[in-house]
């Protein structure tokens, strides 16, 4: 089963294509990293996958053929958007209540145990938590939904190195324990090294490279994911215009 399938997918804002001619098959059971420079279309692609955006061209399905954004799709996907939006004036307990009410499945004991382990008080307002705690709360709520696919948009961009490490450790533990497939976007390559087993390289709205990290490294003779990505982005960068 593929957790995300796109064919000829395109999204246009005004006259600019944020994503175009995107054809992808992301297999299940992987941590897939969506990598690319700022403005490459990573968030647009993820928004299309969760149905927040509607394609301008082509189509995208998730979890083995479910239309993106459909009820069946949303039931199996947990999405943590960029900057982990939470209701700042609601307490942590209220956020748990909201997520539990809006979904069929919600593992409340897991959520509470995990937040207790992180030292996040249930009565504290979400807006009063530190950036790392907010990210952990959003991730906990997403994981407690027991999703088949976890989609994370720039999950560690705002976090300090310790928080980044903890966050990624949680994601890895979840994939190992529950078999959750993960699709995450990042422009911070070093964090992905340890976790990603599948790579999608996006640049200027188009998929430049996609495949198993091990295969890609072997085929291109690179030592690390970072080197591979850098080399590829250099190849496709805009040529300098002579003055």
């Amino acid at each position: 089963m593929n957790v995300v399938e796109a064919s000829g997918l395109g999204k246009r804002y005004g006259g600019t294509w944020a994503v175009r001619e995107c054809t992808l098959e992301i297999p299940a059971g992987r941590v897939a990293a969506l990598v690319g420079p700022n403005g490459a279309g990573k968030s647009t692609l993820l928004n299309l996958a969760v149905g927040l955006s509607v394609p301008s061209a082509g189509e995208i399905t998730v979890l083995g053929g479910r239309p993106a954004g459909s009820r069946a799709a949303l039931d199996g996907i947990a999405f943590v958007a960029q900057d982990t939006p939470l209701y700042k004036n609601l307490s942590v307990a209220d956020m748990i209540y909201l997520t539990r009410s809006l979904n069929w499945r919600f593992d409340q004991p897991y959520a509470k145990a995990r937040l207790a382990g992180l030292g996040i008080p249930l009565k504290r307002k979400a807006g009063k938590l530190s950036g790392g705690q907010q990210a952990q709360l959003a991730l906990t709520l997403a994981l407690a939904r027991r999703p088949r696919l976890l989609i994370l948009d720039e999950p560690v961009a705002m976090l300090d190195p310790v928080a980044r490490h903890d966050f990624m450790a949680t994601v890895l533990a979840a994939t190992a324990a529950d078999g959750v497939s993960v699709l995450l976007s990042s422009h911070v390559l070093t964090e992905l090294e340890r976790v990603a087993s599948y790579l999608i390289l996006l640049s200027r709205g188009q998929v430049r490279l996609a495949g198993d990290v091990g295969d890609l490294l072997a085929a291109r003779g690179q030592a690390s994911l970072e080197e591979l990505a850098m080399a590829y982005l250099r190849e496709t960068r805009t040529p300098e215009v002579p003055r």
Binding site: G29, L52, A81, P85, L98, S101, L102, W104, R105, G179
Partner: protein, 353 residues
Amino acid sequence: MTALTMPARPDEDDVRLRPLPWRRMAGVTWRQHRIALAAVAVLLGTLAVCLWIIGTPLHHAYTAAMACHPASSAACQNLAGTFNGTNDHLLGATSPGGVFLQLVPVLIGAFAGAPVLGRELETGTFRFAWTQGFGRWRWALAKLVLLPVVLAAATGAAGLLVSWYYQPYFAPGSQALHLYEMSPFATLFTLRGVAFPAWTIAAFTIGTLAGMLIRRVVPAIIATLAGYAGLAVATAGFLRERYLTPLLTSSPNPPGTAWIISQWWTKDGRFAFANPPFSLINRFCSAPPAGRGKNAPFGTFAQCLAPHGYTQWTSYQPASRFWPFQWIEGGWLLALSALLIAVTIWLVRHRAA
């Protein structure tokens, strides 16, 4: 391989086909909007207490005046004077209190309605709310039905209290006692009966649509205030008096509770003037008899101008049309609100976020 990493969940497929029950949105809506709802409760509670405090002596004075016999006795005239004196115009449509009260629907609508979608879009939390299993248009529909119903119940109750306050002014038999009479249309028409909840819902739905379109709370509130003001001014100044064809009378003394739409004079079956010119009044009405009642000036002019061939015409809406007008206004406002909700839901469903 896939089977190992994706353990089967036997009940999952059955569950997935069913939408989540609507009732789950009750608690969600309450938790997200309890501050706004509490503010509405405080606002309406304050209004209720004020109305009770100024309304109780008014009703006492009215009961005392009505119970007094014979009406022409000095004691009864005193009681009638007491009742007339309690009308301090605190709640007249154009008094400061009345103007503030007429802002209540739009204040509720703008400050409770505009953030419902506007804040989600402004702070990005719609990315959380719209990706949950409940589904985004069902989430929006639940809120846009539940919140207006709650607001309608609260403002409907407050509207009953406003009606209670005014009730003595429209009661039959007041005229015989020379008690002060008012047209039910001139006295906070929008804050009574079905108009109060209907205007509140209209303001709320304008606010939610503005929030959805503008995607920012403060500009959406301002847009709501402007949109509501336009609608309210157009209704009060143009629409409302045309709900039903006004009655026409040539009687110099139309009922004190009538809503006078316009008055004009004719001579020999042709329009003469809207108001008698001073030259005419000076010529024919040099010594006007002592006036009586609210419409004394018109009445006296009619008396002294009538022998010279002038007839005064009055088009008016009688007080008996209060409820038909309430239902007409409530009806079109609710239809408008339903349309605005439908447009908002359509936008939530189809507009790219």
